[in-house]
Amino acid sequence: MEHIPILRMGPFLLVTIQVDMHDQLAMTLQDDLTNRISETGAKGVLIDISSLEMVDSFIGRMIGNIAGMSRVLDANTVVVGMQPAVAITLVELGLSLKGVKTALNVEKGMELLRKSLTESDIEEVGLDREETRNHGLTVCH
């Protein structure tokens, strides 16, 4: 069974969804992410959809589910890189991604996640204040 890779970046998890993801793969991703958030105590999930040329109701619901489950596990979700054609189509479709924050790209998405970290979060994940302020996050396992 294939899995979409989940990268860990400090207190956050990054998922890059590339072209056509069939339903089964989407369900697997949902499960994998929920597990990883639990395991790592991650405080944020960044979903990069800049390569997705289409988002239908199924994928929309998947994103909504991920955001919902993350919130329960005390993490924020940010979706980044939505293409204009996709955004226009979603609006026409009537799909609202409520409860899902969005940003233009990974960098801005990270910034958004960092801003939403609370004092206790920072302590919890063992970051010192300097690090968070100076965007000192690196990819680590």
Partner: protein, 297 residues
């Protein structure tokens, strides 16, 4: 009886001598300044003229000489196509109408040759033919005119698209000043272009200014709202500025719900909000030392 006879005469003459008339007509076109010789070969011109003359002949045998009657349909279609094609290819009105008007001389010359013993009849025939050709010529000119109007409208649309550029006001702040009457198609195209620019420049705020828009209808309002919603999904915020009192009234009357879309009366106000959101503030520059005499601290 005289009338019937004269129509038959004209018809018979054209039927008998059409090839000669065709030859003379083509020569007439080639020698007139109203023909774009560089765009036609003699052969092409001859083919086109021959087609017309045969249709013309059919029409005059089928009934009277009123070119707006049904039996002149094929002739009108032919002239419409010709006119349209010339209109789209930038021919002048004269160059287009010359095709028709230049047939007068060879037709009249032939009539003069064949009706040489009845001055009254000849005069009547010449009048009738002249009348007919004039009407056909005018028809051609009208189609040409309509075609040119369509070309101009198309060019106007393209120009409008070019004249609604997306402007960078500040780092991360774009502005789209919309000017003129908006139609659904144009609005859609322009707003899609805005979203594309947002991605390209990574601008988090886009100001759509409609100061220069006299009226807004439901469709345009909906496009604006959809664009703002789409921009949000992408991670950017849109501010609509320049909403004049009349437009505000229209929006309320149409029952359009702007929800929580940020609106500002002027582009300046919108810019202030945008800068604020970017965490920026505009401050006065300190006066140079020399002038800082009494009025300090």
């Amino acid at each position: 009886m005289e009338r019937m006879k004269s129509n038959d005469q004209f018809e018979m003459i054209v039927q008998k001598y059409w090839e000669g008339i065709l030859g003379d007509w083509v020569e007439e076109q080639l020698s007139s300044t109203g023909t774009r010789k560089e765009l036609f070969s003699k052969e092409e011109l001859r083919t086109q003229s021959k087609e017309f003359i045969l249709l013309f002949q059919e029409a005059i045998s089928a009934g009277d000489l009123d070119p707006y009657q049904p039996h002149w349909g094929k002739v009108r279609d032919f002239l419409s196509n010709l006119s349209r094609s010339r209109g789209e290819n930038g021919f002048s009105p004269t160059e287009t109408a010359t095709f028709v008007f230049s047939i007068k001389k060879p037709l009249m010359a032939r009539l003069g040759k064949e009706i040489n013993n009845d001055a009254r009849l000849l005069f009547e025939e010449l009048s009738r033919v002249s009348n007919l050709i004039d009407k056909l010529g005018l028809f051609t000119t009208e189609v040409y005119q309509k075609t040119r109007e369509e070309v101009i409208r198309r060019q106007q649309d393209e120009l409008m698209e070019l004249s609604t550029p997306v402007v960078k006001l500040w780092s991360g702040v774009l502005a789209l000043p919309m000017i003129g009457t908006l139609d659904s198609n144009r609005t859609q195209t322009v707003l899609e272009a805005l979203l594309q620019k947002i991605v390209e420049t990574e601008a988090e705020i886009a100001i759509v200014d409609i100061t220069g828009v006299p009226t807004v209808d439901t469709l345009v309002a909906q496009h604006l709202i959809k664009t703002v919603t789409a921009a949000r999904l992408m991670g950017a915020e849109c501010i609509i500025s320049g909403i004049r009192p009349q437009i505000a009234q229209t929006i309320v009357h149409l029952g359009v719900d702007l929800g929580d879309i940020i609106t500002k009366a002027t582009l300046a106000d919108a810019l202030a909000v945008a800068l604020q959101r970017r965490g920026l503030r505009v401050v006065a520059v300190q006066a140079p030392r020399a002038l800082q005499t009494e009025a300090s601290f």
